[in-house]
Symmetry: C2
Subunit: 219 residues, 2 copies
DNA sequence: TGGACTATGTGAAAACTTTAACGACTTCCG
DNA sequence: CGGAAGTCGTTAAAGTTTTCACATAGTCCA
């Protein structure tokens, strides 16, 4: 399962879902082939980078032709483990949490939010975006073998909940709170901090040239 | 204004808001000094990286002592242009948009959402998180000299709105839609794609070692 | 079928980022 | 006051990512 794949650079791995989604679009539009140049225009990643990224998986294209959409897609589906849906829990059904619950992840991603938790009893028992909301007190009881959690609680609650999630056996946390949580080294945390993203954008605008050569930044 | 600053690496620039926020916390806790090691533990960035980051701005610390919180903070305030509030518009008052409007950016960030727009007449005329919601048809009329926009509309509307924003003179867009929008080169776009973040996390969990040596990845 | 065209895959270089290591200077305790 | 401990700022090395540039091999039209 992990043969070869460990060698794929992180930067590449982060772009895979992007490629995957765009290929999906092409496929549903009935497009049969695509070149690295076309992909580049669509996802705003240099075409050489795309070719390099793909090449980590072997020779997926054909010279003078490009890539076969169907083939590439089925290859990526396997690689991204799209066949096996990853079950996810969401903690904190505020505005941001609700946005997530209403986002149809399963459509393209084979990632499904299975359950949600909240401390507010008004929200408990409801169904949001087709997902049941349980009380946070029942976290350990309900969580089962879910391995990924999305954390959309207030910052002050983040570390406490994270500790409980770790204790309950979670292995990945997508942390949307400004708190930088501490977890054992075998648990992976990705931070997405909305305020920082906004501030960083503003900083770049003020301090980096706005012209032709403005450094690209995606992600 | 731009003297020297242009040389600061992008990777460093992205961490500045993080440092800034933590220093703010320290300051309000009455802490007078802090070392790169303490900062490192808190924000989960290697201490050598922190010292290197700071050093781009000159010698801000003192050997054998660390950094003076107040001084560092006032320095960053200037550097991050915290003194001058950046005025922002938000387009699309759905769940995600609402989450933003309720997030008190101004508190730490001197970034303020001044107005919001939506196509849904039920939302127009309301006030969300203290921000007036206008109809999207009035975008050009109301926008004034705002230079940054947060895009939280459905993906299908993203490019059209982006075109209008560019036309209206916006210079930076924080794009939360899955659509990769095209803009002239003098406009800066940062993409934040929730589905991709989740998928990337799942990919890393499955393909990268979960032990001591798991590659760190923040933001 | 032949030849112009197209677009991949990759070696090599460049660019960027992180990390290790340590000299130099401060602090602080006894 | 003197020496141990602490911590910065930075040089140099290692690691990662992007980009260039082109040989190679397949396409496709006449």
């Amino acid at each position: 399962m992990d043969i070869e794949q460990t060698k794929i650079p992180q930067a590449t791995a982060k772009r895979l879902p992007l490629y995957y989604r765009f290929l999906n679009n092409l496929h549903s539009q009935g497009k049969m082939r695509v070149s690295s140049k076309e992909l580049s225009d669509a996802v705003k990643v240099d075409s050489a980078t795309i070719r390099r990224d793909f090449s980590y998986f072997g020779a997926l294209g054909k010279k003078g032709y490009g890539y076969n959409v169907e083939y590439l897609l089925s290859f990526f589906r396997k690689t991204l483990d799209q066949d096996e849906t990853t079950r996810v829990a969401l903690i904190g059904v505020g505005n941001l949490g609700t946005a997530f619950l209403n986002y149809n992840f399963t459509k393209n991603n084979n990632t499904k939010i299975e359950m949600a938790f909240d401390a507010n009893t008004d929200r408990v028992g409801n169904e949001v975006g087709g997902v049941n909301v349980y009380h946070i007190d029942d976290l350990e009881e309900k969580l089962g073998d879910l391995s990924v959690a999305i954390l959309t609680v207030p910052a002050s609650a983040a570390q406490g909940i994270a500790d409980r999630l770790v204790e309950a056996g979670i292995s990945g946390i997508l942390n949307f709170t400004p708190a930088r949580i501490s977890v054992p080294s075998q648990v992976r945390v990705h931070h997405i901090d909305l305020a920082i993203e906004l501030q960083a954008l503003v900083y770049f605008l003020k301090h980096y040239p706005l012209n032709e050569e403005a450094p690209m930044d995606e992600q």
